[in-house]
């Protein structure tokens, strides 16, 4: 078995985790043999540059050439922010929308939604498709799929040419009820291809085959906007990897929780939105399971952003629905990661007498003042340096970056201290307080949406800056246990290695349960399976190893939200192959009959009662669609837990002046590389090669049997 490499691109750093099986190297004795972490500055101009630089460094640490490393690598799983960056910077494709006559303003109307019901000053979201690039065509399909108004092809061509004159590079096509009858959307796609060759086209029934129109329009428009950028990036990186010697297909992380090939992502580039953070959440569930932490609050603080997500009962839920990203709705199943502009690079400033931290970030270039790369605006990292939480002595970013104090105090005084009437140390402390409060609020919003009380859960803190702030936030939230994985600074990259290749798609089928035609359900599942299987086979995966999970989307009549109801397939029904469980083996679907639909209805009532406290068993549910998850298992790193046999106080390597929240004092500082299982620290500061763990007063940190840090309250 060869190496497996997870690569996660963040706003500031690109992180790498290489997992091997026992080859020599300078890595820690992690699970599954050698584990190497690497971290290099992201390269916004061409993000694949940082990927290649990091791979070279990994190869060097193993004593290999890049070519040799890639030859011995079984899998590269990639989490990318390219789609997110496109939405943040609003520099995606020049996008046009073609839609049903009378419906060109859905994307502005947002079904009435506004993000803040109390703030009358919130401006409109930046437009992806300004009204001038939204054209309509006479056509109409009814709810049952019948054509009410045939497509006016001449008008359509004229409308498409209007978009052409405005230089569109990408076109979203959204017609009403296309998920029931896609004939008009398909034809419009052909007409765009004829009239505007080379322009990218997204058809809504392919991106999100279900109602209602605003959600589908928004999702399709975002897909069209980010698509060309995402695809170009994947193509460029694939080419560079191939040229460097990698013979396989890179896998790309999807926000729904699985990875898939570049060819598949070409159709659904929107699936990479927030994919890096999704890797961290899935990895969080994996690493915490043996540590007796099924309910997790995952917090990832990097250079630019703070991501919050929740793992419940060991699972990172990926639900479609009312998911907003960068002020646009994405109606596909996604692991819900709430992002706040709070990272080490978040800029502090004073406006109207109020101290604000973020969301503006100094990013990788120039970075915080203490990076010494020309940054002049004070950041959270600068404040942490002045507070003594970070140090110019410590290795930062694995020793490839030495922090400097030059200009840091001056910047804090100029931008924060002077306007507020105090010195740089007070300014630093207030920046620390404000960023902590901002993050705590983000956590609260997230747990509210999940119906979870944060006090009962374990916090999993990662990202380069997460462990600096984790324990103090945990305290504010009533959390008594914080896990900091040894791979914390590149944890999302590690998480990428815990996911399987996976395709999760659905098809619309609206009908009362009694009217459902089992043959039609089987046909839709079969179509989904065929499509998915082809993508897997094209990527060289063994058809026999594919797993299929069937489910139906159902609701009570009148409800707006559907629930996914897993369909149990008995071993005999799935062809007697002995696969057992609820999996279908891809064989004939002749077991799909009225009884199967009836059993699903029963199950729907039960799940509804569990999740929503009641079931209306005398009301017949309705089907809204069928869903199929296709996946194949790949090797994962194994994780361990365990309390060390002996617990002993560790010896500090030095002491330094630092403010752990209650004023400056001499504080013990420990080298993470010196700490072994059973070592206990606190209060104090642990310096790891890519991160710093602050053990605040009232907390202690113990290295567990797997080498990870477990922080617990001492009171």
């Amino acid at each position: 078995m060869g190496y497996r490499i997870g690569i996660d691109i963040g706003g500031t750093f690109t992180d790498f985790v290489l997992v091997g099986d026992g080859e020599a190297g300078d890595g820690e004795a992690g699970a599954g043999g050698v584990t190497l972490l690497e971290k290099v500055s992201s390269t916004p101009a061409d993000r694949s540059d940082a990927v290649m630089v990091g791979l070279e460094l990994l190869a060097g640490r193993l004593g290999l050439t890049l070519h040799e490393l890639l030859q011995r690598t079984d899998a590269i799983v990639h989490g990318t922010t390219v789609a997110d960056n496109t939405l943040i910077e609003m520099d995606g494709a020049v996008t046009g929308l073609i839609t049903t006559e009378g419906f060109r303003d859905e994307i502005d109307l947002r079904r009435g939604y506004k993000e803040d019901i109390w703030d009358v000053r919130l401006p409109a979201p930046p437009p992806i498709v300004p009204r001038r690039r939204r054209v309509t065509v006479p056509e109409r399909i009814a709810a049952d799929g019948t054509i009410v108004t045939p497509l006016d092809e001449e008008a359509a061509r004229a409308a498409i040419r209007r978009l052409g004159r405005q230089g569109v590079e990408s076109v979203a096509v959204v017609t009403l009820f296309s998920f029931v009858n896609p004939v008009h959307e398909r034809r419009l796609g052909e007409l765009v291809a004829e009239e505007l060759p080379g322009v990218s086209v997204c058809l809504s029934h392919e991106v999100m085959p279900k109602a209602p129109e605003f959600e589908r329009t928004s999702t399709t428009v975002v897909n069209a906007f980010v698509g060309p950028r995402v695809t170009a990036y994947h193509d460029r990186l694939t080419t560079r990897l191939r040229e460097a010697g990698y013979g396989r297909d890179m896998l790309v992380m999807q926000s729904s929780g699985g990875a898939m090939t570049r060819e598949y992502m070409r159709r659904r580039p929107i699936n990479v939105l927030a994919s890096g953070p999704a890797g961290g959440v899935v990895g969080g569930a994996a690493i915490a399971a043996p540590k007796d932490a099924a309910d997790l609050l995952c917090v990832d603080m990097g250079g630019t952003s703070y991501d919050v997500s929740v793992v419940h009962n060991g699972v990172a839920p990926a639900e479609p629905g009312w998911n907003w990203h960068h002020r646009y709705l994405v109606g596909l199943p996604m692991i819900d990661v709430v992002t706040l502009g709070a990272g080490g690079g978040s800029i502090a400033s004073v406006s109207a007498g109020l101290l604000r931290v973020g969301p503006d970030s100094a990013g990788a270039e120039p970075g915080p003042v203490c990076y010494g790369r020309g940054g002049t605006r004070p950041t959270v990292s600068d404040a942490n340096l002045v507070l003594g939480l970070l140090s110019t002595d410590a290795e930062f970013a694995g020793g490839r970056l030495q922090l400097t104090e030059r200009g840091v105090r001056e910047a804090l005084a100029r931008e924060v201290g002077d306007p507020l009437g105090y010195g740089p140390e007070e300014a630093a402390h207030d920046i620390w307080r404000v960023v902590n409060a901002n993050m705590t609020q983000a956590v609260r919003r997230t747990t509210a949406q999940k119906g979870i009380d944060p006090a009962g859960v374990t916090m999993l803190a990662y990202g380069g800056n997460g462990p600096v702030h984790a324990a103090i936030q945990a305290q504010e939230l009533g959390i008594r246990r914080v896990l900091v994985p040894r791979q914390s600074p590149a944890f999302s990259a590690l998480g990428l290695l815990t996911v399987d290749p996976r395709i999760d798609e659905e098809r619309s089928y609206l009908a009362p349960a009694a009217d459902v035609d089992p043959g039609r359900v089987a046909e839709l599942w079969s179509d989904l399976a065929q499509q998915a299987t082809k993508f897997f086979e094209d990527a060289g995966f063994d058809r026999g190893a594919l797993r299929y999970e069937l489910s139906l989307n159902m609701r009570y009549p009148g409800q707006n939200w559907s629930m996914t109801v897993p369909v149990e397939v008995s071993a005999s029904a799935s062809g007697g192959s002995g696969s057992g469980g609820s999996g279908w083996d891809g064989g004939p679907l002749d077991f799909v009959d009225a009884a199967l639909i009836a059993a699903a209805c029963e199950r729907f009532h039960t799940i509804h009662e569990q999740e929503h406290t009641y079931a209306t068993r005398n009301v017949e549910p309705e089907l809204t669609g069928v869903r199929l998850v296709t996946s194949t298992p790949v090797p994962h790193p194994t994780f361990r837990g365990g309390t060390p046999a002996t617990i002993r106080a560790a010896a500090p390597s030095q002491r330094r002046r630092a403010n752990l929240g209650a004023g400056f004092a001499e504080v013990d500082v420990y080298r993470g590389a010196d700490l072994r299982a059973g070592d206990t620290v606190g209060p104090g500061i642990i310096e790891e090669s890519f991160t710093t763990i602050v053990v605040y007063p009232g907390w202690q940190a113990t290295v567990d049997a797997a080498g990870d840090y477990v922080l617990t309250t001492t009171t």
Binding site: R111, D116, I117, W118, V120, P212, E213, G478, H612, T613
Partner: protein
């Protein structure tokens, strides 16, 4: 009788008795927990209610009330309605002995003359008791019901003679006793409701209130009842203090405004809401003396509870949005609402439609009066629609289907200083998710023909109001419709020189020789198969002088067909050259300067620029 009750219910309530001290952080955590709980409770209803009205439109308002009947927290929903909910619970709290309150109970109330808003607003609430049997907190969830069992489907009767005609009136009624559902009571409620979805909705609300109580129990278990009570006191004090700090920064003075409702459903015109906002140090007083009180007015009576909630909701939008939303806001404001006027009606007046108008004019009047005082946060948090086109009919088996008409639309999205109007609503309605066409057409024999923004219906201004949409809808089977039209003559007001939003209009049987305009109200009128209705929603108001709008922004508006080329010249004084089709539309700088100078001259010569309004005017009459 109701005046006396209203005075009693509205009177300031003191803090909860507790010996505990609480630090700021704990108080904030408890407040955050309360807002979280309300978020969960409201989300629960959205996910489980069976009627489109509630699960799609998300008209669901969760709040937490303390044992003194004070608003302790709220988070998600419609501010105006969340702010109403303490009053009916204060009423119910009068009868805890007589009604045998205890743990596990769930109640409902909807009586507009016992603190409620209007009959469709069912307030379902459940008490939380401490270990020693002390009543601690009450979780409330209020949702608009699709029917009230009154004389007309839907609960809105333009010809209602009194509130009894509008439906079943419930001062307070126990639905669940010590955890056991009261079958007889629920059957009675269901029997008095025309909609089959009603039972699912009421169960959803009961489940939500019970969920809230469980979550509140966790908070009390964690911090202790005394600390939680101290935290509620501290949060309410904090909100009052912060609100007063903002008011103290406003210039002292009296600021008045008049706003109008076009007419009542029987044609009485120019229904006036008058407010005087007095700022004196840190004390703000809203005095509605001078508001219309003609006894012959039909249905445009707004319950006192609603008046109170709507006024404070507008004020909450005009201060720092981070101020916690609780009883402290009410404590900071003195309110004078003359007994017998439209905003505090005599017992028995029908109030269902009054919860639209003049209810929203309460907020609009406060906003217009204070626009010059708080220009950076002045935007009316209102909807000026009278009543949507409610369409109903009967299926082949005789069961009624009923479309409330809360379709996706844009209306009344006003600008404020520095921010153009956008989206479909004012911010305060931003949780009100409207019905999608694909959902509606899957449920009802109706078709949405089109709904797009109408050029030139956004109020002109330095910052432009967002245009309203024209919603064209077709009935595919014979059906009936009811509606009430306002805001054609008195559309949404623009602020500080900004023009009013475009007016509303509503046409039935469009495209036939019988096409007609609804001038006032339509009431159960037949719509034959294939009939088309066209509802033009009003635009948002503009803010500031349109002649000061950035000409490049006007050009963009023309490119986006939000503003016509003619209106660009007429209203904004911006002259363009080139053409949209050729892609070379540009501002003619010289011609624009000249045109603007001419328009300004015309103004100083006494000509009125179209639509200009002066806000915060000193109105002598009405005292």
């Amino acid at each position: 009788m109701s005046f006396e009750l209203n005075r009693h219910l509205a009177a300031r309530r003191g803090p909860l008795g507790t010996s505990a001290e609480v630090d700021v952080v704990t108080a904030e955590i408890v407040r955050g927990a309360f807002e979280t709980i309300c978020f969960e409770v409201a989300t629960h209803v959205a996910r489980t209610a069976t009627s489109a009205m509630i699960n799609q439109s998300s008209e669901r308002n969760a709040s937490i009330i303390d044992a003194h009947g004070r608003l302790a927290g709220c988070s998600l929903g419609i501010p105006q309605l969340m702010f109403v909910s303490p009053m009916p619970i204060r009423h119910a709290l009068t009868f805890t002995e007589e009604d045998d309150w205890g743990p596990g109970d769930v109640f409902v109330g909807n009586d507009p003359y016992a603190g409620g808003g209007h009959l469709p607003d069912y307030n379902v609430f459940a008490p939380l008791y401490g270990d020693d049997g002390e009543l601690l907190l009450i979780q409330a969830i209020q949702c608009h019901q699709g029917d009230t069992g009154g004389k007309d489907p839907g609960g809105f009767s333009p010809d209602a003679v009194d509130v009894n005609a509008e439906g079943l009136i419930i001062p307070v009624l126990k639905l669940v006793h010590r955890g056991e559902a009261r079958r007889d009571v629920l059957a009675l409620l269901a029997r008095n409701n025309r909609l089959p979805d009603f039972s699912g909705d009421i169960w959803s609300m009961i489940g939500a209130a019970q969920l809230g109580v469980r979550r509140l129990r966790e908070v009390v278990d964690r911090y202790g009842a005394d600390v939680v009570k101290a935290a509620v006191n501290a949060s309410i004090d904090l909100s009052e203090r912060r609100f007063r700090e903002e008011v103290a920064a406003w210039p002292d003075g009296s600021y008045e405004a008049d706003v109008y409702v076009d007419h009542d459903p029987v044609g009485n015109e120019d229904i006036r809401v008058h407010v005087t906002c007095r700022v004196d140090g840190d004390q703000l007083t809203l005095d509605f003396t001078g508001t219309d009180d003609r006894p012959e007015l039909q249905t445009v009576w707004n319950s006192f509870g609603n008046t109170r909630g709507y006024a404070v909701a507008q004020l909450a939008s005009m201060v720092d949005p981070s101020i916690p939303k609780n009883e402290g806001l009410f404590n900071a404001v003195e309110m004078i609402v003359p007994e017998g006027c439209l905003l505090n009606p005599p017992d028995g007046k029908p109030v269902a439609l009054g919860a639209f108008h003049p209810a929203v004019e309460v907020g609009e009047a406060v906003c217009v009066a204070l626009a010059s005082v708080v220009p950076e946060r002045a935007a009316p948090q209102v909807y000026k629609i009278g009543m949507p086109n409610v369409i109903y009919g009967f299926g082949p088996d005789g069961t009624m289907w009923f479309d409330q008409g809360v379709d996706v639309r844009s209306s009344d999205a006003s600008a404020t200083q520095g921010v153009d109007g956008w989206g479909a609503n004012s911010a305060s309605l931003g949780n009100l998710i409207m019905q999608a066409a694909e959902e509606m057409e899957s449920r009802f024999p109706l078709r949405m023909v089109s709904r797009e923004l109408t050029t030139d219906t956004g109020g002109a201004g330095r910052w432009r109001g967002h245009p309203g949409t024209l919603n064209v809808k077709q009935t595919l089977v014979p059906a009936f419709a009811s509606t009430w039209m306002v805001s054609a003559k008195h559309p949404l007001r623009g602020l500080l020189g900004g023009a009013d939003g475009g007016p509303y209009s509503n046409r039935f049987l469009v495209g036939t020789p019988d096409e007609y305009e609804i001038e006032n109200a339509a009431f159960n009128v037949p719509l034959p198969e294939g009939a088309v209705t066209a509802y033009q929603f009003g635009g948002g108001g503009g803010f500031g002088d349109p002649l000061e709008r950035d000409p490049a922004a006007v050009r963009d508006d023309v490119l986006d067909e939000l503003v016509s080329r003619e209106a660009a010249e007429r209203d904004y004084g911006v002259v363009l050259r080139g053409s949209v089709e050729d892609g070379d539309l540009e501002v003619d700088v010289g011609a624009t300067a000249a045109r603007r100078a001419r328009l300004r001259e015309g103004r100083s010569a006494g000509e009125q620029v179209a639509g200009e309004q002066v806000a915060g005017e000193q109105v002598a009459e009405g005292a």
